[in-house]
Symmetry: C2
Subunit: 140 residues, 2 copies
């Protein structure tokens, strides 16, 4: 999967993205996510702010378990509509519970979001998304 | 479908939302949308900025034709994570091509977005979403 530098920079510059999943019956679901992009994959922690229940019971996690196909959008809104832009990523999602990619994701997340530096992300799963198709639109 | 005043005000105050659809095979898709909420339904024009192809060929429109179940999220990001909030709306989507609801939607859209006042929205379809379930999270 080839992603240009411009598109990669646009993805990295965003503070949030939106993750769309669908359950086995085809009902879509979408949530804002904090994320990092290492140039090849997107990582998003299951942090729950505030933490209210088991991460594995979250709808996005249950959807990924039954249907790993997801879409992620990174976009910029501006009242000057010549500046509108988005990058849409379709891909396959999975869950990381531990290991080197899990550690790398947490390091990158704490570098990008100081809010994570005091959270016990190590003990929580991270969603990983491998892009299969990337589409840019507008003034990326 | 009962929506509290606070939630309705939060939905109305947002300049964009994100619309998630899924095709018949369960592949999710998500795009930022401009929209209005009249207290009962969400309306989003198929405006294409810039207009590049037939509105009926857009992926979101094709997905709705084969699977009318959608999700819409309205959210606020803030670096102070105590201020994070979202409202997630699951519902059923359809297309309006003309008629009184189509006219009402265009009037509301032009009131909310001055950018639409010079666009020929009358000739383009409007997506309408009837909420079935509304969930709030965080500091709505």
């Amino acid at each position: 999967m080839r992603i240009t530098r411009t598109v990669a920079a646009f993805i990295r510059s965003a503070r949030i993205a939106h993750l769309a999943t669908a359950d086995a019956a085809g009902q879509p679901h979408v949530v804002p996510i904090c994320f990092v992009f290492d140039g090849r994959r997107i990582y998003s922690p299951i942090d729950e702010k505030p933490k209210t229940r088991s991460p594995l019971r979250l709808k996005r996690v249950r959807n990924i378990a039954s249907n790993s196909r997801v879409a992620v959008i990174v976009d910029r809104y501006d009242e000057d509509w010549n500046r509108l832009a988005y990058v849409l990523i379709s891909g396959t999602a999975g869950l990381l519970h531990r290991g080197s990619n899990h550690r790398k994701a947490i390091t990158l997340l704490r570098r990008k979001y100081r809010q994570y530096r005091s959270m016990a992300l190590e003990k929580r799963p991270v969603i990983t998304i491998v892009p299969a198709r990337v589409t840019g639109w507008g003034n990326v």
